[in-house]
Amino acid sequence: MSINVKVMKRPAGKSSYVRATLKGMALTFRHMAKAAGDRSELTIQYPDQKKELSPRWRGTHVMEKHDDGRPKCVACGLCPTICPANCIKLVPGEDDQGNRYPIVYEIDEFRCIFCGMCQEVCPVEAIHVGNHYENAEYSRHDFVYDLDRLMAQTHPVTLLWDPSDPAGE
């Protein structure tokens, strides 16, 4: 080598190329023999198998509804206020009995950071984050979920804390 390379003195036994190579090949061969025939234990075959989500997984939102199909939301305006990503749009309305209800309720799942604060703050347990993560779309507009779509979600909602141990002790 004409270039000046700093060469460290090392004991021959530890810098042996052939031995290290054979050792490495034995290792890869062992792994190959173990996984040969697609027997790898580590792989979850995603579209076919899915990993079980934690009950506290915060994903796509769900709007709870009454038995007659109305949303439980009372349009109090707490969730758009608390939302750190400013992704909830709420236009409140009031019917002739004085009950408030949302005229427009939209969540932009693309802006949402899934912190779960909307669920925490909701006084009537209407809006929830859910155990669901597959929400790919073809355009940005499709990520804005309106009220009907939020109510149509069927996946389980997130438990923000363990009901038997609410203080996390």
Partner: protein
């Protein structure tokens, strides 16, 4: 055990010869293309298993149709032609690289001779040229032209560097490749591959043991010749994007890949033939046959069953070498450029020359002592070759040339000592003019 002459068998002649050759060419060419396609799948599967993954398993049962899907994709993809590239050579390069890789199958015998009724016996080799190995060497050297031209014609700095590296590497290792074959020539006294197999059968020992040094050097050179991983400098992804085929896309790119796998297949077949007895079945003498010499049939009587069994044997040996190729590729990191040149010129060339001289002396000595060609003769040669291999390995190893990255704890110890020495020297300097503290 000695060559029994069986008068009833003779090589096919005339029209039967033409037709049998045409059929052989078609069958072998199609088989090779299919095997090469399956090798790409095998590589992906094997690498996946080594890394505890599954590999392609979506197309067809167990991913078996993945090569077909890849091929279809590559055919339908858009071809890109760099504006500054030399169009003629840019198009020519993939062809030049795939043709020699495909041609070299022609001279490798892949099974024992097949009798076809009254027509005679067909040799299971496409072109039974008497200069078999020379043909092979000539065409495998041509393969580098495709790579060098691809690198030059792309008008891309990375491609050019890849091409240059390929050229330098090929030249360096072709020498060791040729020299390691010299010992085989000396033992067989012939360059026909059919003869090489026959001589190994006569010796009752495959050349891998009595010519261990040649086998080892040939093996290393083959890795270099195929541009596979410890020697994949021409396409070093981390340095040269993808080297010589950086600018290629679609089917042209695919052809470089087919050429690489065809090369791997050829070289594995070649190693099996030259050093592992070719289609010879170990421990059984019934398959020893050379063919028609003059008017007599040399060797045992051929039969269809023996042909099938020997073909299976040949396939197993080839597969073994391919598997080792893949095992090495997914285990060993790439050499540095200076290490490749060091290994080629400072170790392989002198050691191969030395081995040729020693082997020649041993052959001469064995012959002049009148030891008959056979197991004892092989033992004599092995007694010279195996210690020589041990010495060469010892010289190569031990950090003499190929320096490993070293043990981490040793590195840490050295770094600590270095830091301590530096701190010590500073302390002395501070002590010379004392600070107020």
């Amino acid at each position: 055990m000695q060559a029994a002459s069986v008068a009833t068998y003779h090589d096919v002649t005339g029209q039967a010869y033409v037709w049998s050759t045409v059929i052989k060419v078609l069958v072998v060419f199609v088989a090779v293309l299919v095997i090469v396609a399956l090798l790409t799948l095998m590589e992906r599967k094997v690498s996946a298993w080594m890394q505890d993954r599954l590999g392609p398993n979506r197309v067809g049962p167990g991913g078996l149709l993945q090569p077909a899907a890849d091929g279809l994709k590559n055919i339908l993809k858009e071809e890109t032609n760099p504006a500054e590239a030399n169009r003629v050579f840019f198009t020519l390069a993939p062809m030049l690289s795939i043709t020699p890789a495909m041609l070299t199958f022609a001279v490798i015998p892949f099974a024992s001779p097949l009798p076809i009724g009254r027509y005679g016996v067909v040799h299971m080799i496409l072109a039974d040229v008497p200069v078999g190995i020379l043909f092979l060497l000539a065409f495998s050297s041509l393969g580098v032209y495709g790579i060098v031209i691809a690198g030059w014609a792309s008008f891309n700095k990375y491609a050019l560097l890849g091409g240059l590296r390929a050229g330098a590497q090929m030249i360096s290792y072709e020498i060791a490749l040729g020299l390691s074959l010299m010992s085989v020539f000396m033992v067989t006294g012939n360059v026909s591959l059919r003869e090489v197999v026959w001589k190994q059968q006569q010796m009752h020992v495959w050349f891998a043991i009595p010519l261990a040094v040649s086998f080892f050097f040939f093996w290393i050179s083959c890795f270099a010749e195929t541009n596979r991983l410890p020697f994949d400098l021409p396409e070093a992804e981390s340095e040269l994007v993808t080297g010589y085929h950086t600018e290629y896309s679609a089917m042209k790119f695919s052809m470089f890949f087919i050429a690489e796998y065809a090369h791997v297949l050829t070289v594995s077949m070649l190693m099996a033939t030259l050093f592992l007895g070719g289609w010879d079945i170990p421990g059984w003498q019934g398959d020893n046959m050379l063919g028609q010499v003059g008017n007599t049939w040399v060797g045992h009587a051929p039969s269809v069953l023996i042909t099938l069994a020997t073909f299976a044997m040949f396939a197993i040996k080839t597969f073994l070498f391919i598997l080792i190729f893949m095992l090495v590729r997914w285990t060993v990191p790439r050499f540095r450029y200076d290490q490749v040149m060091d290994l080629g010129w400072k170790i392989m060339l002198p050691a191969a020359l030395f081995a040729v001289v020693v082997t020649a002396a041993a052959v001469l000595a064995l012959d002049s002592f009148g030891i008959p060609y056979g197991p004892w003769w092989a033992l004599g040669l092995a007694a010279v070759n195996l210690p020589m291999l041990a010495v060469i390995l010892w010289v190569m190893d031990r950090g003499h040339t190929l320096v490993g990255t070293g043990a981490p704890d040793e590195k840490r110890r050295l770094a600590r000592e270095h830091a301590r020495a530096r701190a010590q020297s500073r302390r002395v300097a501070v002590g010379a003019n004392p600070s107020p503290r």
